[in-house]
């Protein structure tokens, strides 16, 4: 919905899309349905049928975003939440509550809790629990008495009276079935399969098998299912950063046992903060070395929260927190007692420091230099995110062999006004940043040609000079372009400062 004007939910409301013959209805509310409107009606006809019709343009992208948001929120019930794609109608999601229902005191309670919360958001929802995703989809859509909980094995019986549309079929298949006289799922159930397989695309039998549990239907979760996951519901919503960190510490402590059992450590974590009003904030934490330390994780979360304080809104507080380990890595067992008593091993302290700095300052602010095989000074090294392994395998040239390079480098070479002998003499005097320097000693030139194999554009040759002025300041200047061949008026730049 794009309109920002308020809508009255009790009056007929439709969403329209452009189609052949004019705008048509894509979605409608109950009041509109009561007025006799239907999906695919022309907007012009609809206006004739229902006075005071509110029509808004449909916005599939926003719908999709809203559905994803809701699906993320639903991860408070179970980590595996799969929003429906285009084929499923894109207006709901599956929750895999296997093994999660008991946390709420059974499936009925879970369903009631979900219904109550969705109702509070103003979302009238239809819910169903069944053994298979297909059956749950069909029941939620078409069962007259939703919410329903279908016992295992009763799928065929429950689906039989529902229309064939309950099988999530493509419109063509549905039309063909209707023409052939198949109106209800039950009519398809006891028929021999071979003629259907011959007459219809594989879709029909696949959907039927999926609904009845004869074929598997893997769910595509909205967030990668975590390796380890721990969730805590809070009696009172929490509103302070300290409280969030405290709960997160407890969550991590819950996970430590499982990590120790599997000989693993966390490399990436995700903290999900479920706000009272259904919003969810996700905080991703990456680590340089696998860890099991609840204190370390808590500190990283604290630092990260501090950095993104303006983004995360506490609002009326968070009612549930989930901590998931999204990447776990093998971690050598260690004597925790010894580590606690003495100092941690050195690489771990380095990794912990890099983690802390990255969480607080942002990963791009903590960097390490890497050499690159290039003669062009600005390309001869890159600054990449600091990692613990980086300083082991690097091949910097031996210090004695390299040519003079400045300690401070100007990433953007700065133009200087230079008096120099034409064509190829060293500078005599130059002005840079408003100061005039007389050259006392000039060393060079070191000629660096452009890397013609990289780009077609002409890269002028540079002649680098190490310049010393009367006071002892040393500069790295270069002349761009060879006289006569590349340019008629060479320009000079300061590219670095020696000490």
């Amino acid at each position: 919905m794009t309109g920002h004007e308020p809508v009255d939910p009790d009056q007929p409301l439709v969403l329209i899309v452009d189609a052949a013959g004019g705008p048509r209805i894509a979605a409608l509310n109950e009041a509109a349905e009561a007025a006799g409107l239907a999906i695919q009606d022309l907007l012009a006809d609809a206006r004739a049928k229902a006075a005071s019709l509110q029509a808004h343009r449909a916005d599939p992208a926003a719908d999709d975003a809203a559905l994803r948001r809701l699906a993320l929120w639903a991860t408070r019930y179970t980590p595996t939440v799969s929003p429906w794609g285009e084929a499923d109608g894109a207006d709901g999601f599956f929750l895999d509550v296997t093994g999660a229902a008991h946390l709420f005191g059974g499936e009925e309670r879970l369903l009631a809790d979900l219904a109550a919360r969705l109702d509070r958001f103003g979302l009238p929802a239809r819910l169903a629990i069944a053994e298979t995703a297909g059956a749950a989809w069909a029941l939620a859509r078409f069962h007259p008495a939703a919410p329903v909980i279908l016992p295992a094995g009763a799928e065929a019986q429950a689906l039989a009276p529902l229309p064939v549309a309950a099988l999530r079929l493509a419109p063509d298949t549905r039309t063909t079935l209707r023409r052939l006289g198949f109106k209800q799922v039950g009519a398809l159930l006891d028929k021999p399969r071979a003629p259907f397989a011959a007459r219809f695309a594989a879709e029909l039998l696949r959907r039927l098998d999926q609904a009845l549990g004869r074929a598997a239907e893997p769910l595509v979760p909205i967030v990668a299912p975590p390796v380890y996951h721990s969730l805590r519901y809070l009696i009172e919503p929490i509103v302070t950063q300290a409280a969030v960190v405290a709960v997160a510490t407890r969550l991590m402590k819950d996970l430590v046992h499982a990590l120790v059992r599997d000989g693993a450590g966390a490399r990436a974590l995700r903290l999900s903060l479920y706000r009272v009003d259904g919003e969810i904030a996700l905080i991703d934490i990456g680590l340089t070395l696998p860890t099991r330390s609840a204190e370390h994780v808590a500190r990283l979360i604290d630092l990260k929260l501090e950095r993104i304080a303006e983004i995360v809104e506490f609002g009326f507080g968070f009612e549930a927190l989930g901590l998931a380990i999204t990447t776990a890595e093998r971690m050598e067992p260690m004597q925790t007692d010894a580590a606690a008593a003495g100092e941690a091993a050195h690489p771990e302290r380095c990794a912990a420091l890099i983690d802390n700095l990255r969480q607080r300052l942002g990963p791009r602010r903590v960097r390490q230099l890497k050499p690159v095989a290039s003669h062009i000074p600005e390309r001869a090294e890159t600054a990449c995110a600091a990692a613990n392994e980086a300083w082991i395998d690097q091949t910097w040239p031996a210090p004695g062999e390299s040519r003079p390079r400045p300690l401070l480098f100007l990433p953007q070479a700065e133009p200087a006004d230079v008096i120099a002998e034409v064509p190829e003499g060293p500078p005599q005097r130059f002005r840079w940043r408003g100061e005039i320097h007389g050259v006392v000693h000039a060393q060079g030139p070191e000629r660096i040609a452009g890397e013609w194999w990289r780009s077609r554009a002409l890269q002028p040759t540079r002649d680098y000079y190490l310049i010393e002025d009367a006071v002892g300041h040393r500069f790295w200047l270069y002349r761009e372009g060879l006289y006569g061949r590349e340019t008629s008026a060479a320009r000079w730049f300061v590219h670095g400062l020696f000490t």
Binding site: R367, W391, W396, P399, G400, L407, L408
Partner: protein, 273 residues
């Protein structure tokens, strides 16, 4: 105490030893120090070198001496790192505007500081830079922490000094002059002309180094060279005479000073920290 030490030069070594013993006995463990390898200079420092767990400051004499001051810090870090376990990195924290340009890996490499062991932290402001330095010191993971900041108040310098003290790691701080701090040593650095090697090429750095303030030590001024090949400090030939280095000429050395003529003798005993 300082005056006692200076008035009885014959007993000096004994007294210093006794004082150190007393300090160790009082609970302050004797931190080890990293000497420059220049007897004339090291003699001015209380432990014969830069104390490890302490804040050391370098300030450029003029704004244009900023690269020189940075080079001095890098040279110290390089010599320090050479004596540390090989897996300990050094952390460079820079606040925006505190340096001209950025540290260049190949340049660090020439200075004898393995760029692979350098972690660069580019803070968004001074506050972040201070936080990062303190965090690094408290973790005791890096062998040394170096930083360049725009502003540093007294309280912040206290925090940093104590963090360095606890972790027994040196903190080398490049900062503009004119603000009070608790730094153990404060060096004022000015650029000086490097002496060319036998091929007439510049193969080292040269600074006019003024030890402006030194707790339990004596100020002084030297012309210090750092050789890019051997990664060693040396006194420039003109000033190797100990008579010069004992004097603390606080005036910005005029040209004749660096050329080795005898400097004017000013009210000799400079203020000790």
């Amino acid at each position: 105490m300082l005056s006692v030490v200076e008035n009885r030069p014959g007993n000096r070594a004994e007294i210093v030893h006794e004082l150190r013993r007393l300090m160790a006995w009082g609970g302050v463990a004797e931190a080890h120090a990293l000497p420059f390898g220049l007897p004339a200079l090291d003699a001015h420092l209380p432990q014969g070198g830069l104390t490890c767990g302490a804040l050391h400051e370098a300030t450029p004499e003029a704004p244009s001496d900023l690269p020189a001051a940075f080079g001095f810090i890098v040279a110290i870090a390089a010599t320090m790192l050479a004596r540390m376990p090989p897996d300990a990195p050094v952390l460079f924290v820079t606040a925006p505007g505190a340096l001209i340009g950025r540290p260049y890996g190949h340049g660090l490499n020439r200075f004898g500081l393995d760029p692979g062991r350098v972690i660069l932290v580019e803070a968004a402001d001074d506050r972040q830079a201070l936080w990062a330095m303190e965090e690094a010191l408290r973790s005791a993971a890096p062998a040394a922490v170096a930083g360049a900041v725009g502003k540093l108040d007294f309280r912040a310098s206290q925090r940093l000094h104590f963090a360095a003290l606890e972790s027994a790691r040196p903190l080398l701080l490049l900062r503009p002059p004119g603000m009070p701090s608790v730094a153990v040593t404060r060096w004022r650095i000015a650029a000086a002309r490097a002496s060319p090697d036998r091929f007439g090429l510049i193969a080292g750095s040269c600074w006019r180094v003024t030890l402006e303030r030194c707790r339990n030590g004596r100020p002084g001024q030297w012309l210090v060279e750092f050789d890019h090949a051997s990664h060693r400090f040396s006194l420039a030939a003109a000033l190797a005479d100990p008579a010069f280095s004992r004097a603390g000429s606080r005036k910005r050395g005029s040209e004749n000073f660096s050329r080795g003529r005898k400097p004017r003798w000013r009210g000799d005993r400079a203020r000790a920290g």
